[in-house]
């Protein structure tokens, strides 16, 4: 499956990037494709293109803050979790994606 994801935490210097890394790693292990946008203290990095969002089967939002540009994902299958979940049990997020598909 193809995923796009956004991660964000309040301080934006640690959790945001750890979550992104875990999602990328776990997706690789499970054989999924993923692109992760981070919304940290540096602002938006690795921003998702409209084409990437359109081509994704599901959107993962792993954030403790209100993310920027949430309307980009209107009408997509969304999986919303706290940023901790992406860090500690990223596998469960992809399991959920399989279930909701």
């Amino acid at each position: 499956m193809k995923f796009v994801a956004v991660t964000g935490c309040p301080t934006g210097i640690a959790h945001t990037y750890m979550a992104a890394e875990q999602l990328e790693k776990t997706a690789r292990e499970l054989g999924h494709e993923i692109q992760v946008e981070t919304q940290g203290a540096m602002g938006i990095e690795n921003e998702l293109s409209a084409a990437a969002i359109a081509g994704a089967d599901a959107v993962i939002l792993a954030a403790d803050i209100a993310i920027e540009g949430a309307d980009r994902f209107d009408g997509k299958t969304k999986i919303e979790v706290p940023v901790q979940t992406a860090i500690k049990e990223a596998g469960s997020i992809f399991a959920r994606a399989g279930a909701v598909k």
Partner: protein, 362 residues
């Protein structure tokens, strides 16, 4: 339509944290600049450091104070932004600005609604703007909604409410402060312990900031000891975890040892956030250990009458601290408590894991 309470609470927590995430760099920038300007300043008439004699120091102090004065507007503005997107900014910023205006109390003292006021303003502004957005508007007015109608009416509404609640909130803050000032003996240590626990609890989040703002507002009222205890608690979590990675290297992996060095640096300049990578990976073990260290340090500081004249913590503010040796001692003890306890817990945990899996697969 039933309102899901849990869902609503979770959303509001996101709003608050969004505001905090934008305010943190302002707080760190302002706090460090003010601390630096006070650190090199000679003592003034009342014994406190006074940078007004030096052009460079008073310039640095003014720049830091500007950053600090923006923190409540930014907090209120971005809480509202999280809730209502761009149209929330104007009423949120204005509400936060009103919260930072000094109010004259009946006894002649001045205080502002501060942190509590800015949070209230941001939430109010977000809700108000979301309501205005829903109003049925003739098509002809649509284009002026975001640039005229919402900012003006949002600001009028939020501003009016803020001017009404400002004084009561400010009074509450001062009342709390007076109550705490009167605390003698035992309860004073309890206060230090509570503040220490709050500082370590979420490492820079809203609980941490509530304790921090309390200490900072006490400085304005001439009580430096609360901030003294807070300043110690601020730095022991990253220092303790950083030290732990140096003391028993085998318990930590490469990433953690690198994070440990960064944590030591952040601890020295009073950024509790340096502890976050550790707490994120293993909160059940890390949180009690850093809370224990911060509580220990804060209580020692309170007992030894350590005072801090700058709204910032960590060894970097040492020059503006009263009873410096005790300040250093309290930091060292708090750091050791965290470092030793986390290593002990980690060692036990790893032993258990090894017993559970006698032949680790990887």
């Amino acid at each position: 339509m039933a309102i899901d309470f849990k869902e609503t609470a979770a959303r509001h927590k996101q709003y608050l944290l969004t505001g905090v995430s934008y305010a943190v760099p302002f707080i760190a920038c302002g706090g460090i600049l003010i601390a630096v300007s006070l650190a090199f300043a000679p003592p003034g008439p009342n014994g406190a450091p006074d940078p007004s004699g030096s052009e460079i120091l008073s310039l640095i102090e003014k720049i830091g104070a500007s950053a600090f004065s923006l923190m409540f507007p930014v907090l209120g503005g971005f809480i509202a932004y999280a809730m209502a997107s761009r149209p929330g900014l104007v009423p949120g910023f204005i509400g936060g600005a009103i919260a930072s205006m000094p109010q004259t109390l009946p006894d002649g003292k001045t205080a502002n609604a501060g942190f509590l006021g800015a949070i209230f303003a941001g939430l109010l502004a977000g809700h108000v703007v979301n309501l205005i957005k829903k109003a049925p508007i003739p098509v002809i007015f649509k284009p002026i909604m975001p640039i005229l109608i919402i900012p003006i009416f949002g600001a009028l509404l939020v501003g009016s409410v803020m001017f009404v609640v400002n004084l009561p909130i400010a009074k509450t803050m001062v009342g709390l402060g007076d109550m705490l000032k009167q605390m003698e003996g035992q309860s004073q240590y309890l206060l230090a312990a509570i503040l220490g626990a709050m500082i370590a609890f979420d490492m820079g989040g809203p609980v941490n900031k509530a304790a921090f703002f309390f200490g900072a507002s006490m400085i304005e009222q001439g009580n430096f000891r609360i901030m003294g205890a807070v300043a110690i608690a601020i730095c022991t979590p990253p220092l303790g975890l950083g030290l732990a990675t140096l003391l028993r290297r085998k318990l930590w992996n490469d990433d953690q040892r690198n994070a440990g060095k960064a944590a030591l640096g952040m601890g020295m300049i009073g950024i509790t956030e340096g502890a976050i990578p550790f707490a994120a990976a293993d909160p059940i073990r890390v949180l009690p250990c850093i809370m224990a260290g911060s509580i220990t340090g804060a209580v020692i500081g309170m007992a030894a009458q350590v005072g801090d004249h700058a709204p910032h913590g960590g060894p970097i503010v040492l020059p503006v601290v009263d009873n410096r040796w005790w300040y250093v001692f309290a930091i060292v003890v708090g750091t050791l408590v965290t470092a030793i306890s986390i290593n002990a817990l980690k060692a036990v945990g790893q032993k258990k894991e090894n017993e559970a899996q006698p032949a680790p697969a990887a």
